[in-house]
Amino acid sequence: MVEVEEPQDYLDVFQSQRGGFSFENCKRNAYLAAQANIKPPTAMKSGTTICGIQLKDAVILAADTRATEGPMVADKNCEKLHYISKNVFCAGAGTAADLQHTCEMMESQMELLRMATGTEPRVCTVVRRLSSMLFKYQGYIGCALVLGGVDVTGPHLYQIYPHGSTDKLPFTTMGSGSLAAMAIMEAEYNENLSIEDGKKLVAKAIRAGIFNDLGSGGNVDVCVITKETGGAILRNYEKPNERKFKAQHAAFPKGTTPILKEEIMKLVSVEEDVVMRD
């Protein structure tokens, strides 16, 4: 039956109050799953296609816009490109809530650093902060990021995995649609692309993910970061899945459905007296 817990030693209580993640519900969840077949609600994941390329003096990131909740599309046009600072942006795959909050935390940390040092934050600094944090949480924060930006040392592109490992690459793709996108990248990337050609390449890679991966879909968002202009998100740069037409229903004329009986019941008595206030 249900186990009676013995009074806890003060050391156990102290240990449990130390902070960080508390795993006390894991036992209960295992019991419920085994005995009553009750599964906990799953977090909203974004099966995704994200990619990035590093050019001679710019970095271009791109992402699809489908957010999935199991087999259902939760958001057809969500934003997967996050602002970290004027010159550093990141595309995120993984748990939507983790991504949003992690990126907001990085944004505020970089702003504080910018005010303290009087200099623009560097891409390597953001990478260091992110990987330290993700490693600290041992992969429980589900953020897989493609991070890119341009700072005093030039353009840089990194990818960061949920456990905290980082890679510095000239082009990269992540998410469930990464294989489809990588095929396009490997075939067509070279470092001498112009910014316009670069935008076309990343959009093509994301489209490959949109059409060939179930977890990715919707529109293509692109972000271009250059030294002069900083970063600019081109929301819905391409819309390959626009609904061509909506079903039109003319309003049915009154009398289409025959009325057999009509009965009106007075449920509330309404008093018409007007009372003057004094």
């Binding site: 040092t117 009087g118 200099t119 560097r122 990478v127 260091r128 005093v152 040392t153």
Partner: protein, 253 residues
């Protein structure tokens, strides 16, 4: 000045009626009684120099340093109690390395100077500790822009940014000399500054004091923009040249 503290100078947590904290000022006296040290921001780097008194002929030359490396591109020269200064140097080193570990970027010099100011100031707030009896001259060169900067952090926690400055016994004379040097050579390089710095230290050295050893270090292209002691031959050559010029000047007088 001694004795005017009356009863208000017994503790660092007491203000005098005219708004002074005497203990912090007395800490400054410890700095004023030490050997001269100076630092100059040249066009291409920073040069530090210190007048290190030799308490005994048995001391091994080159030891008991007064100039310390803080990180690759920063050094600190000390005026005052060097034993107190070791705490400050240690703190500066850990601030710089922890900043790099956290942000993957070399710590900006103003930030480092500010942190040291906060650190030194903290010791002027509590009854249980005493202020540091030393002033730190922190010189850094920025990794990318190669721009030199110099900060002076005093026992009361104030941080000043200087083009060039001196502390210790002969600081007034040294500052005057430095101003003359910089007025004549606004585009002074570190190599040129070596001899001039040696000359200043020798000039302001008081004959009544003990013998001294000149300690010079720099952060400049010759040291690959890293804080390093000036190589022995160059130091000796600079000192010899400086002494020669000083004797010539004295003969002229």
């Amino acid at each position: 000045m001694a004795g005017t503290g009356a009863g208000y100078d017994l503790s660092v947590t007491t203000f005098s009626p005219d708004g002074r904290v005497f203990q912090v000022e007395y800490a400054g006296k410890a700095v004023e009684n030490s050997g001269t040290t100076l630092a100059i921001c040249c066009k291409d780097g920073v040069v530090f120099a210190a007048e290190k008194f030799l308490l005994s002929k048995m001391l091994v030359p080159g030891t008991a340093k007064r100039i310390f490396p803080v990180h690759r591109r920063a050094g600190m020269s000390i005026a005052g109690m060097v034993a107190d200064a070791r705490q400050i140097v240690s703190r500066a080193r850990s601030e710089a390395t922890q900043y790099f570990n956290a942000y993957c970027e070399e710590m900006p010099s103003e930030l480092l100077a500010e942190r040291l100011g906060l650190f030194m100031h903290a010791y002027t707030l509590y009854w249980s500790v005493r202020p540091f009896g030393c002033t730190a001259l922190l010189g850094c060169v920025d990794q990318e822009t190669k721009k030199p900067s110099l900060f002076c952090i005093e026992p009361n926690g104030m941080v000043y940014k200087y083009q060039a400055t001196a502390e210790g016994k002969g600081k007034q004379a040294a500052k005057t000399e430095i101003e003359k040097v910089l007025a004549n050579n606004p585009e002074l390089t570190c190599e040129q500054a070596l001899m001039l710095v040696a000359k200043i230290i020798h000039k302001v050295h008081d004959e009544k004091d003990k013998d001294f050893e000149l300690e010079i270090s720099w952060i400049c292209p010759a040291s690959n923009y890293e804080h390093a002691q000036v190589p022995a031959e160059q130091r000796k050559a600079a000192e010899a040249e400086a002494k020669r010029i000083l004797e010539a000047e004295q003969e002229d007088d």
